[in-house]
Amino acid sequence: MLSRTADHLYWMARYIERAENMARVLDVTYNMSLVPNAAESEAALWLPALEISGSLDAYERDYPKEYTSASVIHYLAMDTRNPSSIYNTLRSARENARAVRVAMTTETWENINALWLEFDQFVGVDLAKSGLREFCDWVKARSHLFRGVCFGTMLRDDAFSFVRLGTFVERADNTARLLDVKYHLLLPSDEEVGGAVDYYEWSAILRSVSAFQAYQKIFSDSIEPWRVAELLVLRSDMPRSLHACFDEITQILEQLTGNRSNECKRLAGELHAKIHYGKMNDIFQNGLHEFLSDFIDSNNMLGSEIHKTFLSATSG
């Protein structure tokens, strides 16, 4: 298929996934704000959300010293100045889709176009006042729909592979960031371990990656930080874990390149092996934060390699 087409499909999927993850983070952060004494200040509550989305610096430029829930919610959900706002990511997803509507099924295109048309109902709404839950639910539901319509209608060809590739490269990045930021903040300081607030905090993380029920089912025990990390990094049966993402990524790259070897495959294989054969104890010993930032860097490198190998129009 055309490199440009692959590029648009890949980024369409990445943007949808990014919007979904942003909605999840917003949703749980907002929930936390309803728990009494959850955080010592509004800023402490909302800063991590900005950090996870990687837009803290830009936010501080646009809203100097103003960490209110209203402005952060607006910034992450609707602000046209924020390239990672849900508004902008969904808009970019739709722009990418529109550029290659030929390459996807009519139903897939109409689904994304309908998403963008429906978005109109939220424009101008002050989500911090009311409607944030509905908004986040809607974003998540549209993302589910998007994956469903791709799965249910697209031919299993390269176009499908690039859509899936975009989804998992983005998801791996998002899960790693979420865990990194939150874990760092929540590592139990000696006092107060096991308090009610802790419980909410950890369960919120799990909920933000749709893993709360999975945790209960697997461990049916109190929520322990190291188990959360294990679930989100090493468990391959947990659909948003790093392991699950790389199971998919390595498989997709295999399909795309066949027997040919390239740097993409090598990078992905290396990362996959690290997670596949990794042990939580070792990871903790060397520092989870170090592990996760290495992972995020390598995942980014994989992203650039994918561009070089498949998506850039400079070859030939």
């Binding site: 055309l2 440009r4 390459a103 309908a114 690039f162």
Partner: protein, 500 residues
């Protein structure tokens, strides 16, 4: 509801009390349908069109400004007999135009015969780069949109030929799909010729004109990209044909061949259905600033390494300055009498014509030659004094840059507008496809001027579209519907003609 515009032929009404035969069934149906219901159907259509993304971009506005071309729910009907006449005329015309294009870029016999003046070679749309270049099957205009207007029961005129990159066929196809969805009961009552096979006919034709020796040709559609006003149509047609929709940046030239960049490496391209004007095709030959084209494309094309559809240089045949010679071309190349008439046209390079036109400017339509899109045009009866004076000066300073025609009494068709159902002026653009054969599918883009009294149907000037129903049989009684059996092939056979 129908009263004021008695001066115009109406497609539906003979007079206040009688409707034309073909509309009898429709009219009975319409009588039973409240206007509110029609209006809610119209709104439903709008929602559906938005969802599908059948929109066009407006140049110079914020990106994201995507507009719908207004869609009217009341169809235009043509009888089988009317269609047979129109399609035969359109095919005849396109055959002659293709022969003219071949001639003008080779022996130029029509000039030697004194039928077309030699000054045509100075027309900006004449491409000297094409002289002596042979194109497969000698076809230049693979896709031609012939604009027709009607002034009476029996009189149709050709308003203009569109031989460069004619657009609008997606509306023919999507309007039909919409009508079938909104009014299935009408499709049971009428036997309406299908149009859905248009993309397949086009693809077969494009494959047939691949460079000699290519076994399984790769066909692509070259678009200026997502910000072009007709992007939806490009995407739609490419998808319907199952071919790649490419942009200039996706293609490159190497070793006298055109390739596209794919995820599996370069892939050779054999036929390019291009929706980019000549001027932007190849920055090495034409407009050097163009980012839309492919450097080196023309050289490959001239050497026969790739086929372009339509060919380069077709503009010389559809220019308004050439239009007046088309009836003579038909006689010259085919030895036939033209089936469809031209609009009587004044040539302003002739002293008598110029004199008459300047005296009657307020009654005439004046068009700029080498222009398109309805911008460089004066509609006398609708113009202000100042506009008339401005055009008078422009004409006097360069008479040969203009042609003039009487203001035609364009037929009207009942149309759903704010006040209810009212007559609005319409035209008709059937699409003639040339490849192995010259054919058209039984349907057309019908454009309607939504403003009361307006004669300008261009979408850029606020026109809308209607579905066009070509009825498959003359007998339009209601019982006929039960025997609906005419096949697609049959209606196509009627309009087919081998290229000589």
């Amino acid at each position: 509801m129908h009263n004021s515009h008695s001066a115009f032929f109406d497609e539906m009404h003979l007079d206040d009390s009688a409707v034309r035969d073909i509309y009898a069934t429709y009219n009975r149906w319409l009588q039973d349908v409240p206007h509110q219901q029609l209006d809610s159907k119209r709104q439903e259509a709008e929602v559906l069109f938005r969802r599908v993304g059948i929109t066009f971009n407006v140049y110079g506005e914020d990106d994201g400004a995507e507009r719908l071309i207004p869609f009217d729910v009341i169809p235009r009907l043509l009888s089988a007999k009317e269609w047979a006449h129109l399609s035969a005329g359109a095919i005849q015309r396109v055959r002659a135009l293709n022969m003219f294009l071949h001639d003008i870029y080779h022996k130029q016999e029509i000039i030697h015969a004194g039928i077309v003046p030699i000054s045509i070679l100075a027309n900006k749309q004449y491409r000297p780069e094409m002289f002596g270049v042979d194109v497969p099957n000698q076809i230049y205009a693979h896709i031609a949109g012939i604009d027709l207007v009607r002034t009476s029961e029996s009189q149709f005129y050709v308003l203009e030929d569109n031989l460069r990159t004619p657009s609008g066929v997606s509306y023919m196809l999507e309007d039909r799909k919409m009508m079938m969805r909104l009014f299935p009961e009408l499709f049971r009552r009428y036997s309406i010729a299908p149009v859905e096979h248009y993309p397949q006919v086009l693809l077969n034709n494009l494959r047939a004109v691949a460079p000699v020796g290519v076994q399984d040709p790769t066909v692509v559609l070259l678009s200026p990209g997502a910000y072009n006003s007709a992007y939806f149509e490009h995407a739609f047609i490419a998808q319907q044909m199952g071919i790649e929709l490419v942009e200039g940046q996706d293609l490159f030239v190497r070793n006298n061949a055109v390739y596209m960049r794919t995820t599996q490496g370069p892939k050779k391209v054999d036929v390019i259905y291009r929706r980019i004007d000549d001027d932007y095709l190849d920055p090495l030959v034409f407009n050097a600033d163009s980012m839309l084209g492919v450097p080196g494309l023309l050289s490959v094309y001239r050497n026969g390494g790739v086929t372009l559809a339509n060919a380069v240089g077709t503009g010389v045949a559809d220019d308004k300055a050439t239009y007046i010679y088309v009836p003579a071309m038909i006689k010259f190349y085919l030895g036939e009498e033209p089936i469809l008439q031209n609009v009587p046209t004044f040539e302003l390079s002739k002293e008598d014509d110029l004199q008459y036109v300047l005296e009657h400017l307020h009654e005439l339509v004046v068009k700029e030659v080498q222009g398109s899109g309805g911008y460089g045009m004066l509609v006398g009866p609708a113009a202000t004094k100042q506009e008339l004076e401005e055009f008078r000066l422009r004409i006097v300073s360069s008479p040969s840059s203009y042609i003039a025609q009487p203001t035609l009494a364009l037929s009207t068709c009942p149309t759903l507008v704010e006040q209810g159902i009212a007559p609005r002026h319409v035209d008709l653009r059937p699409f003639v496809l040339s490849g192995k054969t010259v054919t058209l599918v039984p349907g057309a883009l019908c454009r309607v001027a939504l403003k009361e009294g307006s004669l300008v149907v261009n979408s850029s000037q606020g026109g809308g579209t209607k579905d066009t129903w070509v009825l498959e049989s003359e007998d339009i009684s209601e019982n006929k519907a039960a025997k609906k059996s005419k096949s697609t092939e049959k209606s196509e056979l009627k309009t087919e003609a081998e290229i000589c």
